[in-house]
Structures are given as structure tokens and as C-alpha cells.
Symmetry: C2
Amino acid sequence: MVRLKVTATHFQYTVAVGRGAWGGLRSLATGDYSSMFALTEAGLWHRWGREFLRASGLRLSRVIYVPAGERSKSLAQVEKTAARLAALGADRHSLLVAFGGGVVGDLAGFVASVYMRGIDYVQVPTTIVAQVDSSIGGKTAVDVEKAKNLVGTFYPPRIVLAEPTVLRSLPDRVFRSGLYEVVKHAILSGPLFFDLLERRLATLQPNRTAVIEPLIARAARVKVEIVNRDEKEADLRRVLNLGHTYGHAIEAATDYRRFLHGEAVGWGLLGVTRLAARLGVLPDDEAARIARLVWQVGPLPSMADLSPSRVLSLLGHDKKAVGGRVHWVLPERIGKVRIASDVPADAVARAFRSLQRAEI
Amino acid sequence: MVRLKVTATHFQYTVAVGRGAWGGLRSLATGDYSSMFALTEAGLWHRWGREFLRASGLRLSRVIYVPAGERSKSLAQVEKTAARLAALGADRHSLLVAFGGGVVGDLAGFVASVYMRGIDYVQVPTTIVAQVDSSIGGKTAVDVEKAKNLVGTFYPPRIVLAEPTVLRSLPDRVFRSGLYEVVKHAILSGPLFFDLLERRLATLQPNRTAVIEPLIARAARVKVEIVNRDEKEADLRRVLNLGHTYGHAIEAATDYRRFLHGEAVGWGLLGVTRLAARLGVLPDDEAARIARLVWQVGPLPSMADLSPSRVLSLLGHDKKAVGGRVHWVLPERIGKVRIASDVPADAVARAFRSLQRAEI
């Protein structure tokens, strides 16, 4: 098990990654809380709840279930959850445990940040995306209408506990979807991690915990290091948006129904790689290597039928846009990206259309 | 005009109180914002908007209206407002101006704290309660079901601008309602302010700006001083809850329909004064002086018909309760209060019932 430290100006916390991570909860003085609640999805909890409680030694007051899926990341669900917490007697000294994937983590983190103006919470991520990315960094959010993560807070958890054993119960598609984020982290990290991932990718399966563990730990470290250099995304943290600009637009254009988030990021990585290569920012051989690794993860749901104008019109809606400008994260080589706010709209459009055509 | 400084660990801002306060916006580099929006109520804006824009020199992109009344302090309204901001192109570098009373201020502050994980905002309070209390201190909140302020954030404004001229358009009842909070501040402050208020109260009218101005400034200073000593209410800031424990329960028991917030605080002050006197914490003559000043503000809507058991059952629901315990703020004398978490429930009940009987 690896222990990483997130250190920011006003707080710090541990990200424990690896088999046995749940035991890390014993290092938290949980006896000081007036009550403790888990927020999770019913199916997931029924599969892993007992094991989690045994390994963590946690004595929960109650488990609160939210429906599975992105639709739970809503202010309506925040309201329901807050009302439920209040009805169950949660007060300012209660602890909330986010046990689940990115949706549960983002929702629980947001609820914790606003319930009675802020209570402590713990992230127990149970998907790859959550373990290597969304549970780390203290960003919480819910969606408003079609605007993903429009409303949220910066609110650090007390601890993050990523146990890779739990990935065993992931459906294959969800598991693969998470790997696109690992690919993203490898591109950001550099040749060492990228090479390793190229060699290991074919061997990754949900139940091969020992093989997955070091890759998850490595990918989580990439996130921790970026967060430590820039806690508020003003600048450096923007690089994490690699693959997400096209990705968010593709998700929005399909009402978040066709693609899992990671799959949209997979398309986004292919798109931005093509864009960077065409702009002459990224050498062709590096672009080909990135594209090969993305495709090696598995097949992606088609986007050949999407209206390019619809997708392109949604690019500017990303909340990272400032004054209507889109900040592109362009790979320059494996291990280096550049932020560009002056990418010509027609280059963006052409790269997208050529990616669509390549599919057919 | 008085300029007060709120200084906390991680931020500081100015509270300008008095005629000409709106001009204080010129000290903010508003040119740095990508766009600026006001959140307000239509009737209020139609009366004062033009004057505010002239005095402040502000160039707004757009005005967003919310319905008047406590019901706007909801997550549904947060969602509507965030969606509207997004549709109008607000980004991370936009400014939100809260132009209104406590409802608008609490809502706008909360929206600002979570929109794209936080944008700058300015408080322009237009009621007495907002000018001397709710706009100062960086607490934002909305209600969830019947739980008032259950969800919120600590999020400081960039500046607070309290212009007493705007109080002219307050309906008499709303004006008087705000004075109960001024009485509360005078009790917390001490004999100097309390004596002054006793002498001046009868002369206070919405349109007598010159008479109101120094009292508003003085009451705002009480709030600023308390906030500066304790930004997160862990302890010291709790004293501001004086009169609010019975008050919130009385409001909740009447579904927030019968009493204006200040009126409930008026009853709450009478209740807690009686309670403190009966517990032997507050001398009878001081209790009589406080009660006299509260009654001097004006008549209060009756609460003789309220079910005592209903009101008393709602006391524990206050979010300041920890582990089910209610922390009472008991006056010991004018200028001094004590926090007590061990007040016997039957004393609380008897004080409340005797207050009800006194009305008949």
C-alpha cells in the first residue's frame, strides 16, 4: 500500500492506495464524531459494505443510498440527502463517508461541504476513475441541467482510501472506461509510466488486483503531484483537463447517455491528439503511440452519427472557458502538454470531423 | 459614512455603512471582471436600481430577479439562478451583486460560493436585518424543507455596502422587524449602545435617514467585532444566536408565515430574557429593561394560540444543536451573555408558556 500526501495551503490529507487501504480509517479519530453516515449505491454496498466495515473498523449510524448514475449529481439529490441527514440527526460533528465512484464522491463531497456549512467527510473511491482522479483534490460538484459540474466547492476530504480489490465487481465496460483516465495520467506523467502502461494494459482485468494495484497507485500519484502544485486549477491543474474538452462536448451532445465518462475522455484523447498533431504541436509518431494506447483499452461506442456543429457548439460551454475562450490542453509529447487559448475554431472542427470519418 | 474592517484568517473586506456607501464599489477594480450580474427582487430594483447604478458607477451585464420572500432561499432557486447565470455567459471571472435583504443576500452568497466552485460577490443589503447582521460575516445559506439555513457555506463577500437611505422604501412592519435585531445587538454590546437605543427608538422612522444612520453603523460594528473575534461561530459567534433559539422554533411552528424573521427574534428575546431571569442568571430589573425595549419597537403578531409542545419539539432542530443538545444564549446583564447547554427542558417550557399567558 502506498501513502500519498496532498498538501495545500490550508489543509493536508493522506491518499492511501492499495490492498489494505480501508484499514487507514483507523488512523482517523472516528470516536470524536457525534455520528457517522455512509453515502453509497445500494448494489455496491450490498456487495462490499460488510467487508468495508470489517476492514475499516467503522461504526456507522446509518447508510444512505442514492440511485446509481450521473443523474444523482443534482441539487435535487443534494436536497434529499441533506434532508435525510437532518432527519437522522446528523449535526456539525458528524462524519460522511463517500463510498462509491465519481458520482457518489462528487455528490457526497458537495453535501459535506454545505451541510450545516460543512462537515467532515472521507472518500472511499470504488471505481478506477474515482481512485486515480475524482476522489483526489477536493473538488466537489453537481450538475445543473446539462451543465456538468456547474455547481460545486473546493472542500478537502479528511482522508482518501483507494482499495483496488473493490474493482473486481466492476462490469467490464466500466472497468475499461476507467482505464482511459489512467492513459490520460500516463500521457501527463511521461515515458516511464506510459511505457509501463503499454506493456501491462493487455493484462489488466478487474479481478487481477495485484497487477492493477501498482498502476492505480502510479496514476493516483500523478494526480496528487499536480494537485500539490496547484490546488485551485488556476493554472497548472488545468492540464488534468486533457481529453476532456472534446470529451465533455461529446457527452453533452448525447445527453450523457451513450458514453461512460471515461469513454468520452477516450474519444477526447483521440481528438486532441489529432488536433495537436495537425497543429504541428505534437510529432506524428507520438500521436500514433497515444492513439494506439487509447484503442488498446477497448472499443468505444460510435460517435460517427453525432452532428459536428452540435458538438462544436458545446465546446464553449465548458466551465473552464473564461470570457467564452476555450483553453485547450494540447499534448506536445508524452510527458508534456501545453495550454492554448488561441486554437482556431476551424482546426478544432476539422480534427473532430476527421476523427468521425476515421471511424467509418 | 463608517468603514469597518472584517479580518479573518484567510481574507479581509470592508463594510461601508452610511449615506454614500454605494460609492464604495468604485474602490473595487470592477474592470477586471468578465461580466457582472445583480441578483435582486423586481420591486426593490425598480425603486432603487437606477440610483444604485448611478452612485456605484457599476456597469451590469444583466439583472436577475428572484421572487420576494423566504421561499426563494431554496436549492431549487439556487439551481434556477445558476442555470440563468450560465445561460447569460457568466464564467469564473464574473461578479455577482446581492442587492436586497437577507433572503437575497443569503441566496446570492450561496450561489456565488458554488457557481463554478466560487465567484466573487458583493453584498448590498437593503433591509435593517441585512445591514446590521446577515450581510456581514460571510455566512451564506438556503433552507431545506423546514430546516432553515440547513445548507450553506462560509464565503466572504468582496465588500459590503450598507446605504441607509434605501430603508425609506421599507414597509413599516418590515422596518420595525429589523429593529429587533438592533435591540439584540444592543444587548450584546452593553449599556452605552443600549441607553442610546432606549432614547432614540421612538424617533426611528424609515425616512429619517440621519437618525437611523448612526444606529445602523453602531449595530453593524457589533456584528463586525464579534465576527472578527470568531469567524466560524465555533464559540464566540454563538452569542449572535441570542433570541434565535425560541425565535427559530416559533417561525418553524408557523411555517414561516405569520412572523417576519425579526418579529420571531423579538419574541425570542422576550422568551430568553424571561428564561434567564427565572433561572436566576439575569437580574429582574435588567430583564424588565430588555423586555421594555423590545415592546417599545412595536406590537408583535400573537403567538398565544401556538401549541407549546410543537414549539418546544422544534427547539432541538436548530442546526446549532450538537448531539441533540441546544446551546442557549442567556443574557446575564446588558452587555454580557452566557452559553448554556444544560438548561433544563422544563424551565424552557415554563418560560415559554408563561410568555404565552402574559399575552392574553
